[in-house]
Structures are given as structure tokens and as C-alpha cells.
Symmetry: C2
Subunit: 361 residues, 2 copies
């Protein structure tokens, strides 16, 4: 019996809007998860994110620091972070790709980024860690490889992800924690199909598409998501990992995707690139030196309610840790607003029109 | 006719508590001004500082970036910073000491820290800049030198400060802006007395003691402040510039000082040193690794209401821009709380008892 319930409120073609309820908390879908890797969004108190339902934290990083036993003793991740809404933990699988590692059949050998020592993350360690961390949703420890890796390696990736998923399930003991499977297979439809079958056979509370947003083109991604999403059970949440640019979000909501996460809106903000409507401005540009207007006249975020572009340009050039805060708030709230509008449009059967604002250029 | 009104509500020996009203805004005294050098407190949205009445911004830095005309066109410093309470601008005099400069009779030749070019800041440029910036309280452009400089140089400093004060007054045209004089003279009582006379003769809305908290001992400072404070008119605000550690604040409130400013509580926080009661803890220490308690059980700040020492220790080691925010809030709110208690104790004639908690060790 799962602690997760998914209710679809409306559909328009393949896009759908609904609610995930879990541990008496709700995620409106399609939903975006800001990334609090180590238990905090970079430079940004989550009190500014009124409408955010769910944050993502990272097992690999929390396992190393402060350690999962510390978090457990302190009452779990929600209390630790002072965030009582939903938390999803990634399993550490992403770091197998983003950091230098050695993969074998049992797991992934990492170098500890803090002291240079080596350690092996296994599906068993990952899920036991997530059980202790106490997130609402855990992810299986998957085998993420490069999108350009050979088909042979992709086959190995889906096989290991299948085996590790099975091990993960057998060690998963936290009844207050849902568990999502992850479909791999690169750009190979036959492998995506096989990986989907493996995952669905193992029966998860939701299904993620991994191995995307790591170098493929928008069209390649769209095709793989379209193909795979149709194979996944419609009654379960579908989650594309690591994607968070607004055009990409809308593009994949069209394929029935319900959840997303990404550092993108926050990282972009720290570089001065800010969401305005369906495009971006770079606040560092000279043209904003005297600009008395907020980033967006229609934005309801704290930053737009308080500051001019001229002030924010001044800050990012001269007081950047303060600037990062204000600019991150804007991009995260704008992402929330775009998803709000997407949900509303699906409810009103106008998504296909709304969608046109966010075509890739 | 000044735009500034100072009302003393209670006295206990030389310490006093009161209210400065200016442009329909109030500063409770004794009061502490957090420093927003370039228009923002480092890493910290001022929305977290409920009880702060006044911020300090810096003419030198704002003159260079974004430029005083930009601020003026945008509606003045309050609108620029989105802070509608009191703002005091320092004149740029502090930078004549803290940065490499060459002082002559007309002013101070600075190197522009941004592009290496040279420019001269004069009393005329400083006050015209402050007029345009539109702070509620401006400072005269003073000649700040090292506390250990020769008596000959100290004599030159008080003479130039007198002459520059006179020039400042003649160019001061903003009727919505009070103007404070600055007493210099190092550790020489005869020079402090002479400088006080020069300043009082020029008639300012308030009087600052400059040239302190730059290397003298606590006892040297106490003696000079005691001596000078008694010479200043009691009906005007008295301000010790650049001091903000809690022991120092209480020590000088005892001498009748009404205003203080300093980067100290914020800078200390960024180094992990946090005010608890009448002492400090270093949150980086291993002993806090598992500590489930807030920094202080009696603190009302956002940070203490939300986070454990274990979480904050984790953040400062692993996500420091977010840590800086939470830790700065704590130290600034604690400073506010100490001043609240000091004001209350003076009203209740218990300052001499309260004061004992904050003896220098």
C-alpha cells in the first residue's frame, strides 16, 4: 500500500493536470521542484517561495555531509531543513554521471569530493540512506551514463538499473516514503521500451525518465519522451529528471509529464539571466543602468515588488551574494507562475494555445 | 530650521534613551545602524530586520557605482533600495582612511577601485552627492587619519575637518536632509576639545565622534568618548562611528552615546561567530555537528525560529552564501535586541545593572 496518491483532474490530449498527495501534503502537477542539493536552495530562503509544493535534495551530498545519521537523529530532513512540504531525494545516480566514478555491477565507486577518499555507493546504501533521511519520495539508485555512450553501454545501463531497482525495493523499509523507478536507455527507443517494461514490472509509485537534459537536442529529447511517456502507466506520476528551462517544461508537459526538477532557473539567475514572459533578459547589460522598472511589470515576486532593474544590475555587479538571492527568487517564482498557467490552461482546455508562447526558437 | 527632532525620554546618569524623528520617521535611541554600503546589507534582505529603524549607506561607493545621478533619477536612495525608513549616508571620509589616498587641503585623491583611475573627493562633491542621493542624514566630509598618526597630523586633521565642514555647510541644499558634524583629534583630549568647539560653533543637527574603533584599546576609546561626550550639547544626538560589538555599544551607551554603525555583526556572522547572550559561539566548531538546538533558545530571529545549530554548521561548511544570510540575520537581530534591552533598562533606571552583563572580559 503506497503512501502516494495521484489524481488527474483534467486532460487535454496527452497533457494532464492533477494532484499528488503524500503524507497529507499535496503537489500540484505539472510541478517543478527547485533543487536544495544540500538542504538549502543556493542563496535563497525558501520562505520566499510561497507556491512551491516540493523541493529536491540529494542523497549523495547529504550522505557525505552532514551524514544521514545526523539528519535522522535530528528528526529527519523536513525538520533539518525547516520545510514541512514535500521533499524528494535523488538517489545519487546523477553524481555517477556528473562526477568522476567507476561503475561495476554492485554500484558506483566515488571519490569523496571533500577528502579525496574512495567509497562505493550501492542501491542498498542509497535506499537505506534515503530511508533515514526521511524524504517523502525516494528514487531508485540508477545507472546514469552519457547520452552519447555506445548502445552496448546503454544496454548495460538499463540492465544495471533493473537489477539495482530490484535491490532497492528489497531494502526499502520506510512506509512513509514513496519510491520511483527510473527509465534509462539513452536515445534508443528499443532500450527505452525495454527499460520501461523492467520498471513497470517492478511496480513503482511513479516513473522517472533519466538520462535526459545532458546534451541531446530538444527534438531528440521530445521524441524519446513522447515515445516513453506513452508506454508508462497513465495513472502514475511521470517525471523528467534534470530539466527546468521554461520552453522545455512546456514542451514535455505536452507529452504528459507531471514532474520536473532542475538547478537551471537558480543557476541562470546567478549569471544575471532572468525570465521575462517567454524569453530572458541579462540584467548585467548596460541598457538597464537607469531602468526604473522591475524585471517584469506583471511579476508578483518579492524582487519585482521591491526593486528596479537599475538596482538589481547595480547589485549583481557590486554585491553579488545579495543579488543572487533577489534574482533567484524571481526565476523560481516565474517558473512557478508558468506552471500555474500551464495547469490552469489544461483545466480550461486551452493548453494547446498557451503552449504556443513557449515554442523553442 | 532642521528636519530633525531629538527628544530624550529618560536618562540614567549619562546614558539616555529617546527618539530622533526625521521626515516623519523615527529612530529609537540608543540605536544601531546596519551597514548597507552599496545599498544592500551583504547577503541579507532587510525584510528580515523588523525592528531596524535606520541603515547606513556609503557616499564614496554609491558615487562610483551606480553614480549619484542614477540614484537621483530613480527617485532617491529610499526608492532605489526599497527601504522607507531612515537612511544615513557616510560622506566618504572613512574611505580616506581605509583605502590608499593622498590628502591635500582641498580634499582626498582616491584611486577608483573599479578602474584604477584617480579622482578627488572634496567636501563640495561629497555633500552635493549626498544631496542627490537623498539620505535623511548626511555627514560632513571629514579628514580621518590613523589613530597612531603624529599630533601634528592630528592637528591638521581637525583643522581640515573644520574647514571642510564649513564648505560642506555652504553647499548643503537639501532641506529634507539633516547634517551631522564629526569630531576628530585621535587620542588627544586637547584636540578633541578643540575639534568639538569647531563643530559646535558650526551648528549641526547631530555630532559624531570619528577616528575611533580603528586600533585604540577599549580603555583609550572609553576615555576619549567620556571626555568628548561631556563637551557635546546634550540636546543633540551623539554618534560614535564604526563601532558595533555588543560590549562596545553598551560601554559607550554608558557615556551618553545615541547612535552607532558597524559592519561588525554582519562580518562576524559570515565567519561563523554568533552572538549568544553576552558572548559568542563559533558555529563552525565540531561540537555543534549534532546539536538540535537553535543558536539561542531565547532569540526571536527567523534563523533561531527555524534552524538548528547542526543545520547552520552544515550550511556554513557546505553552502556558505545561504549560511551567510541566516547567520547575519541572527547577529543583526541580536544587536537590535541588546539595544532594545538597553533602552528599556534606561527607561526603568536599571541600566547600571543591565550594563554589568556586558563588561569587557
Amino acid at each position: 500500500m503506497s503512501n502516494l496518491n495521484f489524481k488527474i483532474l483534467a486532460k487535454e490530449d496527452k497533457s494532464r493536470t492533477g494532484e499528488i498527495t503524500i503524507n497529507n501534503k499535496t503537489i500540484k502537477t505539472p510541478g517543478f521542484m527547485p533543487v536544495a542539493t544540500r538542504g538549502a536552495i543556493k542563496s535563497t530562503p525558501h520562505t520566499f517561495l510561497d507556491n512551491t509544493d516540493v523541493l529536491l535534495a540529494n542523497t549523495y551530498h547529504l550522505y557525505l555531509r552532514p551524514g544521514v545519521d545526523v539528519i535522522n537523529e535530528l528528526g529527519g530532513i523536513h525538520k533539518f531543513m525547516s520545510w514541512d512540504k514535500v521533499i524528494l531525494t535523488d538517489s545519487g545516480g546523477f553524481q555517477a554521471w556528473s562526477l568522476p566514478t567507476k561503475i561495476d555491477n554492485e554500484g558506483v565507486v566515488f571519490k569523496n569530493i571533500y577528502d579525496g577518499s574512495s567509497f562505493k555507493m550501492t542501491p542498498e546504501i542509497s535506499i537505506k540512506s534515503q530511508n533515514k533521511i526521511g524524504s517523502d519520495i525516494a528514487m531508485i539508485f540508477d545507472c546514469l551514463i552519457d547520452i552519447k555512450d555506445s548502445k552496448e553501454k546503454q544496454i548495460n545501463s538499463i540492465n544495471l538499473t533493473r537489477d539495482w531497482g530490484s535491490i532497492t525495493k528489497s531494502f526499502h523499509k520506510n512506509k512513509d516514503q514513496a519510491l520511483f523507478g527510473i527509465v534509462q536507455g539513452g536515445l534508443h527507443k528499443d532500450l527505452r521500451e525495454l527499460s520501461t517494461k523492467y520498471m513497470v514490472d517492478q511496480e513503482y509509485d511513479g516513473y522517472a525518465l533519466g538520462g535526459l537534459a545532458i546534451g541531446e537536442t530538444n527534438i531528440e529529447r521530445k521524441n524519446i519522451v513522447k515515445f516513453t511517456s506513452e508506454l508508462l502507466p497513465d495513472e502514475k506520476p511521470k517525471y523528467v529528471m534534470g530539466l527546468g528551462d521554461m520552453h522545455g517544461l512546456v514542451d514535455l508537459i505536452e507529452e504528459g509529464i507531471d514532474l520536473f526538477d532542475c538547478v537551471w532557473p537558480a543557476r541562470l539567475a546567478r549569471h544575471g539571466k532572468l525570465i521575462v514572459g517567454n524569453t530572458y533578459i541579462n540584467i548585467k547589460n548596460k541598457q538597464y543602468e537607469n531602468d526604473p522598472e522591475p524585471i517584469s511589470n506583471v511579476c508578483t515576486c518579492f524582487t519585482c515588488q521591491n526593486y528596479s532593474k537599475a538596482f538589481l544590475r547595480h547589485l549583481i555587479h557590486n554585491e553579488n551574494t545579495t543579488a543572487w538571492l533577489y534574482l533567484t527568487i524571481h526565476n523560481l517564482i516565474q517558473t512557478e507562475i508558468i506552471l500555474d498557467e500551464a495547469r490552469k490552461s489544461i483545466l480550461e482546455s486551452t493548453f494547446s494555445t498557451f503552449r504556443k508562447q513557449f515554442e523553442y526558437e
